[in-house]
Symmetry: D2
């Protein structure tokens, strides 16, 4: 059976990546692509890399245009999908790549985003260890899925095993991320210009203000933090179009052996197709996961510093957004989880 698919927000980077992956998915057929200011244009003029979808034309992002499909992927700016998706039938699988349906706590929404709150949907990080088993279980049969924030899911995947196993201290977490500017979308702002980013490393949202912080804390709560985690979180834009390399460290719970630490991560991801713990002494690079739905995690115990250090590489547009959305949709619909997704990065 082939599922009919619509993609809302098809002219952005996340929308384009959804389409790139959907074009190679054997059970999905993209029938409708919507946009705002680009409505009326041929998709290929806006997304010139999507040659196999040259037959599609962008239409307005309206409930009418999105209805009548089996699956609707929504890749709109934050705050734009909440109301829109209330108009879609309950039996339609809707996967939202925006932030509107990620947070369970309306106070977090108010504090970090603001505007109307439309409630949380099933969170689309299947591999996340929770106190009730993997998050994957909750996705089976779901019809409303919130794809994760790219930075948030990277850090959650990096640290959740240690929280889950009780080997790291949830009150002493530090994450610093090297991120590519595609995560900011096509927003026409000075800090996103090439001349500002080439040859430079540029921090932003320093000091606890990044919107993905409550999402990380929520994931770590599910993973078993007894009190809510506190995390120092700093993203740094670096001159690569895609990718996140998260260095996430945590204080080691005193008395824990290095073997116990490694065992925590190994057991969490042993059977995962897309999340891989690298062997002792190996650490990932973002190039290794470019274009792939893979998260690679390297792990070290720094005895002198009393900290566990994790290095996690993902492609922010794939495992961080569009790939997570499709993987979650596969699970929700009962398809093979890996359909349309690749494990292998485009390197160099």
């Amino acid at each position: 059976m082939v599922f009919s698919v619509a993609v809302a927000g098809a002219s952005g980077y996340a929308g384009g990546e959804l389409l790139r992956l959907l074009a190679g998915h054997p059970e999905f057929e993209v029938r409708t692509v919507t946009a705002h200011s680009n409505a009326g244009q041929r998709l290929i003029n806006v997304q010139p890399s999507l040659r196999s979808l040259a037959h599609l034309t962008l239409v307005d992002t309206t409930p009418e245009n999105l209805s009548g499909h089996d699956v609707v992927f929504v890749a709109l700016p934050h705050g734009k999908s909440g109301e829109l998706t209330t108009h879609l039938p309950a039996e339609t699988l809707v996967v939202d790549c925006g932030a509107d349906h990620r947070l369970e706590n309306s106070d977090d929404w108010a504090a970090f985003y603001g505007g109307d709150y439309f409630g949380a949907w099933t969170y689309g990080v299947p591999e996340l260890p929770t106190q009730h088993g993997k998050q994957r279980k909750r996705l089976v049969g779901a019809r409303r899925i919130a794809a994760p924030g790219c930075n948030a899911s990277t850090v959650a995947l990096a640290l959740a095993p240690g929280i889950h196993a009780g080997v790291i201290d949830a009150q002493d977490l530090v994450a610093v991320l090297a991120v590519g500017p595609s995560g900011a979308g096509k927003s026409l702002k000075l800090p996103n210009l090439a001349a500002e980013i080439l040859g430079s490393a540029n921090p932003y949202a320093v000091g606890g203000t990044h919107r993905h912080i409550p999402e990380i804390v929520q994931s770590l709560r599910w993973a078993g933090s007894t009190t809510d985690a506190t995390i120092s979180f700093t993203p740094v834009i670096v001159p690569m179009s895609r990718g996140i390399l998260a260095t996430a460290t945590a204080r080691l719970v005193p008395g824990t052996s290095a073997a116990a630490v490694r065992e925590a991560w190994e057991s969490a991801y042993a059977d995962e197709p897309f999340v891989h713990l690298l062997p002792e002494g190996h650490f990932p690079r973002t190039a290794d996961v470019l274009g792939a739905n893979t998260a690679l995690i390297g792990l070290a115990v720094d005895e002198a510093a009393g900290r566990v250090v994790t290095i996690t590489a993902i492609d922010n547009l794939v495992k961080g957004t569009a790939g997570a959305a499709i993987q979650s949709a596969n699970i929700a619909l009962g398809l093979t989880e890996t359909l349309g997704l690749t494990m292998n990065g485009v390197a160099p």
Copy 2:
């Protein structure tokens, strides 16, 4: 039927890209990967992006290790495949990604490469218009194929239609290419260091010395140049890991209309799955073909300068090397030509 495959030179960039594509090819199964100094290592340690091939171990590049497969892809340094492949059975499909079997003329080999000459194999650019139809025809049933040089095939695809149709002057060709450093392989030389290339544009092989020049001239001869083409060819390394953007211009044959020029390219590539002429006023970027087996060509007639200007974007490791090799192998074996290859680039 699944064909068993060996890849010689699997630890290099071209070898890695062959494996990335082969891993997603439904009719090929990689059984053997060979290397020189890396023999004995697990493939995943040398090519950490190839997660789905983590079960493979590199063995020595010997005729014994390569024998017994249906298809052997060879990605060795120039001069290394000539002798080696003489030991492989005639019925084995051998696709050489090196230069050893590209040139028909032994004098060209001697002048630009040197060392023993092992003769030309069927050239692996299926879309090339020749005086006897598309090059594709010659590839059907072939068992010895020379994959093209990445720069050479880019320029040949860019200019051959105009030569073939007689609308440009083969004696007045100029090509300047922006190229990524992956084309130089893993060679440990100072000019290949990141600190030398980041933030800089670096020319090399200026003034008619690049080894791909005779290969271009050969392709244009096949396309119909009445006397051998003369071309000024200058590659410039720019800070992107992959990609070639060739600006190839030619003097317009006096009296030719802009419509006749466009018709020459349109008719050459109208039905091609992987080579696309963009509409008037559109020009490609290398990001649009990253990871894809696609060549995108933009075309303009500059009446004031009396020249035709073509802009061609390819991924040097895919359409320029590994993708061309697999596409040619598909044709040779009677498979669907597009198997295992994608039209859509990984952008941004």
Copy 3:
């Protein structure tokens, strides 16, 4: 004596570079910096790299604010300086970094820019060989100077010696430029976003439409082209913040020896502090001139192609704009020509 200086358009990239250089100039003192939307802000908030000028505050770009200085550098968008500078006193040295006063021919202005035409000022490329000696001569004592277009001056410096000496054919010129995106200024347009430019080579203004073409033709006319030059000109944006690497080739006049070619360039630039011909077999990289007021030229004769190939590297913001402006101002005021400018690039 110290000259008082105002810089109009101080919040842009060209304005910032003027200020960086002026801050190190022993005879110039920046007293006034003007802006449009940023007026009222501290300069350091808009140009955080200019620590030594942290005491300055941006004021509105008005004739009143610009008056009362010995020297006014204008770095406004094209079309914005023509009217404004009519209000400045004749005895004030005004150096315009925009295009408004570069072109002698009002038809060229109308065809490539449009809007009101305010006439040509003395062109600020001192090293340009003309039929009446170096352009430098015209700059002595000048009070209205048009700094060059960065692409235009690069190509003019590259080819003028060959035109001047009669060894290349002005009717068969081809230039392809790898350029950094800072040349586009802080314009908030999609093609200028980092995600569009990182990892990609992007052509623009293909097919004879670039605004610098008439400026090149004008320079080559001064250099001695008997009929106006025709040039195929293609710029390609590459992922480096600054720099231009121009590959400019020309048909060799039949019968010219390679020695005569080299002599043409050697004699043109033998005594120049900032324009250097590299030895046979050497070619420049843009990193070698980053931050410097230097143009480096490599030269080859490609006998097989019958062409002269020049490779020229400059920093578009220095020798291409702000450095040329200051060098020209030094000459106009009778100062040592090299004051405040460096020959040495910031590499790697």
Copy 4:
């Protein structure tokens, strides 16, 4: 008075940067440049960006060639300067840019470097607050100076004020650095190739193994840590040729106000010409200090995480190495401290 200068290791990146700065220094004259495998070559062939030093030729790195100068700057690989500099007269000012003379503790040397230990020299970070005043005091009149490690001095400058003032916990420090590959020098190793680094973020020396850790701990001891600091330190190579952006965080000592935190850094660097604390809410980018001897520090207190977050940007080759060396030499010789150094970065 002009001091005669020799630079040992002039063909590397640090040596080249020393020469770039020395060429603009009014009181230093470079008379001798030495190299190992490049001895005998003209300097300009090895360092093509140093046009103003084109008259120099590289000679062998021997005590004989280095003797007879007022100042000798040494930029050799670690372990190569210890023995060599024992042959230089005591009255010669010797500034070593290698690690050989940085560490006071021979056990640290043995553990992180190994080989013969030649003792510590005066450490060349003038701005470092110590329990006995600024480090600058110790540099006055010194004749043996150890220029700092680039990563080490960045982190020390970032955290020392908080240690010195007692507002952060020296036992809970985390630093993650985005660094450019020029810090690795011209070493011909696979991880340094452009194709490995372009488009990717690559960690190295993860888990407490980086050689700069004992140097940081030493600086923080001088700054007043009552027990030796423990720090989790992770460098990440990103695709920019130069620059370090250090995100260094520390647990806030309970009960400390945000104002007290800011006061600690403000008082430490209030009068420094080259180290600047940015205002509340401002954070630096590496482009802002490219080519400059400036360290810019942004500071935030993350109350929720209970941590102080510092962001520090330097140019690894200038303030991190060659600029620090020259600044220290200026102090040692009684010259104006800022001679030959610039505060303004080359941005964009």
